[in-house]
Amino acid sequence: MWLKLAALLTRPATKYVFIALALVFPLVAQNEYQIYVMASAFVWAIAVYGLNIITGYCGQLNLAHGGFFALGAYTLGLLTADYSWSYWPAFVAALAMTAVVGFFVGIVSLRLKEHYFAIFTLCVGFIMYMLMDKWEELTHGPVGVRNIAPPNGFGLVDFTETTPIYYLVLVFLMLTMWFIGRLSRSLLGRTFTAIRNGDELAQSLGINLMRNKVLAFVLSTTFAGLAGALYAGMVRFIGPEDANVLHTFDMITYLLVGGIGTLSGPLVGTIGIVWLTQSLQFMEEYRMILFGPLLVFLVIFFPRGIVGSFLSWLHRRTQGKAEAAAKAQQSRDTTGRRVNNNA
């Protein structure tokens, strides 16, 4: 019974149920604030999907992810506020910027392995933060960037309102998930996963390590940039704190809780924790007392996160049943034959 119910969740059709739920959410939400929280959860989820490519599939812990998120936000913010670009061209520029910077950071940092790579990217993220904080002529320093243009609705929709921006962000989230879904099932996604299993093994399978790692890195920074650009257009005010490394650690938490290297893990983890944080708001900073142990518990007992552990459990159960059924079938066949022989 439980197994059947669980199996239902993994059916392709299930995603339409979730899309339908997301579509009606603004109608059933109690207030505008809830819609806003959900929209920002979607934005973070997009960034976490990006992180999942390089860290989840490819196995390289990238700690500059928050920096790239902020880079996307700043590119969009500065172009629209200071250079009076309109939103969509600046949006494309933000994607291009994070892709190009990601490429150059990638070809340098990916020469390093494991924790050296993690430390290097931590530094890259910090340098990005410093630039946003100190390079005042360009970034306005600690004051931040104001008057960022909202997404241009071409007179049809007003994206300064919460509900329209919610739907806009939802569209981008669905596009992201569609792409990542296709990627993870493809030979390219399998190539990334092979790299996670070990550089040596991957190379012995004829995989060009550097090219594939750089590609995964650029994809991940571009999604960070996409999320950052959406964020800037939604909050319309950004500052150096948006590049704080704590955001990277938040995203890693979402990824770990949801399920690293899984398809729906980033969404489950992000939405779950964002709402949990919201509902624990009354505890203020003390909520970490609840959060810390919860995280430790999850990492120890469910290292593959909610989604990963669920899928493993389901696979084992169905596989066990299938094998038992095959065995039963086999013994039935042999007894049948014996009966025939007797006759």
Partner: protein, 255 residues
């Protein structure tokens, strides 16, 4: 098939492989034996391109591959297994094997975006190759199991299958029978013989002498990075230098 000329590898002051010249014929099983630390794995790493030699040349199928990168060497038909293979534990056996044929495919990011016909064909091909390899090593019945749920011996076979899925001409097997019981060792020996029957060239490192003597056409013996003997199994077994190397270093007498 594989010709090694004066191959040397220095790690700092240590010569892990010292001036080795040898030739391995096509469609034969070649064994490399020697005490622990003799330089056997290093020799494989040099042939497969994971390490660059300090000097010497490696000629594979008439082509000088000495300076090529590992992935290019793999593409030319050198497959290998490691002393320990890290597979994706929480994925099915088949899922782990599909990427094995990746090096013979060309689909990139654009194919993923538009879900091109090429990508679909190549994915189908890679899946078929994985199944074929799995069937070859006799594990079709566990294709949907998680790696975490199969036995040590089955893992060894999956590692073979992964190397086979790359369509290699030569296979380098590093201690394929380590950590499996005698019965299973016989099974693996049979599998290696089957590879030879299918036209593959096999090079294997192994400590289990009974197994080696049963399947090898030729044995090369290394000690302290140097080749101390080479020849047919009977020949090598009688060689005084080999007996000395094995009995002389008391810690390896048991091996």
């Amino acid at each position: 098939m594989l010709r090694i000329e004066n191959l040397t590898k220095m790690f700092g002051g240590l010569a892990a492989v010292k001036d080795i010249s040898v030739e391995f014929e096509a469609n034969q099983v070649n064994a490399i034996i020697g005490p622990n630390g003799a330089g056997k794995s290093t020799f494989f790493n040099l042939v497969a391109g994971s390490h660059k030699p300090s000097s010497g040349r490696i000629i594979f199928d008439g082509e000088d591959i000495t300076t090529l990168r590992c992935d290019h060497i793999a593409q030319r038909g050198v497959g290998r297994t490691f002393q320990t293979t890290n597979l994706f534990e929480q994925a099915s056996v088949l899922d782990n094997l599909i990427v094995g044929h990746r090096l013979r495919t060309r689909s990139g990011l654009w194919d993923v975006l538009v879900n091109s016909r090429r990508l679909q064909q190549e994915e189908k091909l890679s899946r078929e190759k994985a199944r074929e390899a799995l069937d070859f090593v006799g594990l079709s019945h566990v294709e949907n199991r998680f790696i975490a749920d199969i036995t040590q011996e089955e893992r060894k076979r999956v590692a073979f299958a992964l190397a086979m899925a790359t369509d290699p001409k030569i296979l380098l097997l590093d201690e394929p029978a380590a950590g499996v019981n005698p019965e299973e060792t016989d099974g693996l020996a049979q599998l290696i013989r089957k590879m030879k029957d299918h036209g593959l060239t096999v090079c294997l490192i192994e400590h289990k002498m009974d197994m080696i003597m049963g399947i090898a056409d030729k044995i090369m013996v290394l000690d302290h990075g140097e080749k101390i003997a080479e020849g047919a199994p009977e020949q090598v077994r009688e060689d005084p230098a080999v007996i000395e190397a094995y009995l002389g270093s008391d810690d390896d007498a048991a091996a």
